[in-house]
């Protein structure tokens, strides 16, 4: 199953602006203007422009070009668990 099958652009889809605070908490600086490179398709975009899905389980950030997962953040208590294997590069502005 590819990312395309499971991803729908629907009303629950937000963008990276919605997680500016969470990203700043994780990375220690403003990240909505940071430029990420998708490890799957190579597209680059500011994190504000990504597809974002929030749930009780955590935050999933997907590439707007190919919808592959770029970043997953799961909070356990006060600890953020971050998986960023989906990004080939991430450059703060």
């Amino acid at each position: 199953m590819t990312a395309f099958d499971e991803t729908q652009l629907d009303d629950s889809t937000l963008d990276g602006n919605a997680i500016g605070g969470q990203l700043q908490e994780v990375f220690g600086t403003e990240m909505t203007t940071a430029v990420g490179t998708c490890a799957t398709c190579g597209a680059t975009a500011q994190l504000a422009e990504t597809l974002v899905y929030l749930s009780a389980m955590g935050t999933v950030v997907r590439c707007r070009t190919c919808t592959a997962i770029l970043l997953v953040v799961i909070k356990r208590g006060e600890v953020n668990c971050v998986d960023m294997q989906g990004m080939a590069a991430l450059e703060p502005a």
């Binding site: 652009l9 937000l14 602006n17 403003e30 422009e49």
Partner: protein, 249 residues
């Protein structure tokens, strides 16, 4: 402990509700006193955190409704099944304290650095909130940059900041489209934002305009795609989506 805060680190702090103002039947503006507020840019956010008696925590991000240099304000729309907005719009009282952190974001920001570019603002429902910050900031700094705000609301009574938007300042044009209900004798636009309406309202591409689009996800997708169709370069369109609910249309 502001003096010891690490630069760039976000810290939750206690804010006090200074006053509350209804904007529409389901929307109100909250004026906050945030001690030591670092100042914000027009279009930035803050996060609000509510903790229930049983320890359950809910956090939400809100656009700041006031201009840089003004006290912090947020404008919140009540969402029927929301965890946070019903409390903020119905329970919160003057003098109450809530936890906030910010300012947050840097993408959906207008700062007059591009004084040559006319600006198109396209709002769906409460997507108008960051634009109030931007328009107030434009007025405060005496900017002459031409602005147009295209604002889609369900009806005239759903228009947020209506009195203020009646006097938006020299060089600012406000254009409404009402999607569900129009008052008798309404001479403005009706229905959703269409490519045809955008073609009519948007600055010509030759003027190198900058566009900001904020609203529900489907609204933002439609408007951004239409702007690309009429020739706006994607990197001249800044978008902010707040999901599916709200009084846009």
């Amino acid at each position: 402990m502001a003096g010891t805060a690490v630069r760039g680190r976000l810290t939750w702090q206690v804010a006090t509700v200074e006053s509350l103002r209804p904007e529409t039947a389901s929307v109100r503006t909250i004026d906050l006193d945030v001690p030591g507020w670092a100042g914000h840019q027009a279009g930035q956010h803050l996060d609000i955190r509510l903790t229930a008696d049983d320890g359950y925590v809910a956090e939400r991000s809100y656009s700041i409704a006031s201009a840089p240099g003004e006290a912090v304000m947020v404008t919140v729309e009540r969402l029927e099944n929301g965890e946070v907005s019903p409390y903020l719009t119905e329970e919160l009282r003057t003098g109450d304290q809530i936890e906030v952190r910010g300012p947050i974001g840097g993408y959906f920001v207008w700062d007059d650095a591009e004084a040559e570019s006319p600006v198109l603002l396209v709002a769906g429902g409460s997507g108008v909130v960051p634009f109030r910050s931007i328009l107030r900031y434009r007025a405060a700094i005496g900017s002459a940059v031409p602005f147009r705000l295209l604002y889609s609301a369900r009806s005239l009574t759903d228009v947020i900041y209506r009195a203020e938007l009646n006097h938006p300042g020299e060089g600012v044009e406000v254009i409404y489209t009402l999607t569900r209900q129009q008052p008798s004798g309404w001479s403005g636009h009706s229905g959703r934002v269409t490519p045809a309406l955008l073609g009519e309202v948007a600055w010509p591409v030759s003027q190198h305009p900058l566009a900001f689009v904020c609203g529900p996800t489907a609204f933002v997708e439609t408007v951004a795609a239409a702007l690309v169709d009429i020739g706006y370069p994607p990197d001249r369109i800044k978008t902010e989506r707040y999901g599916g609910t709200g009084a846009t249309g």
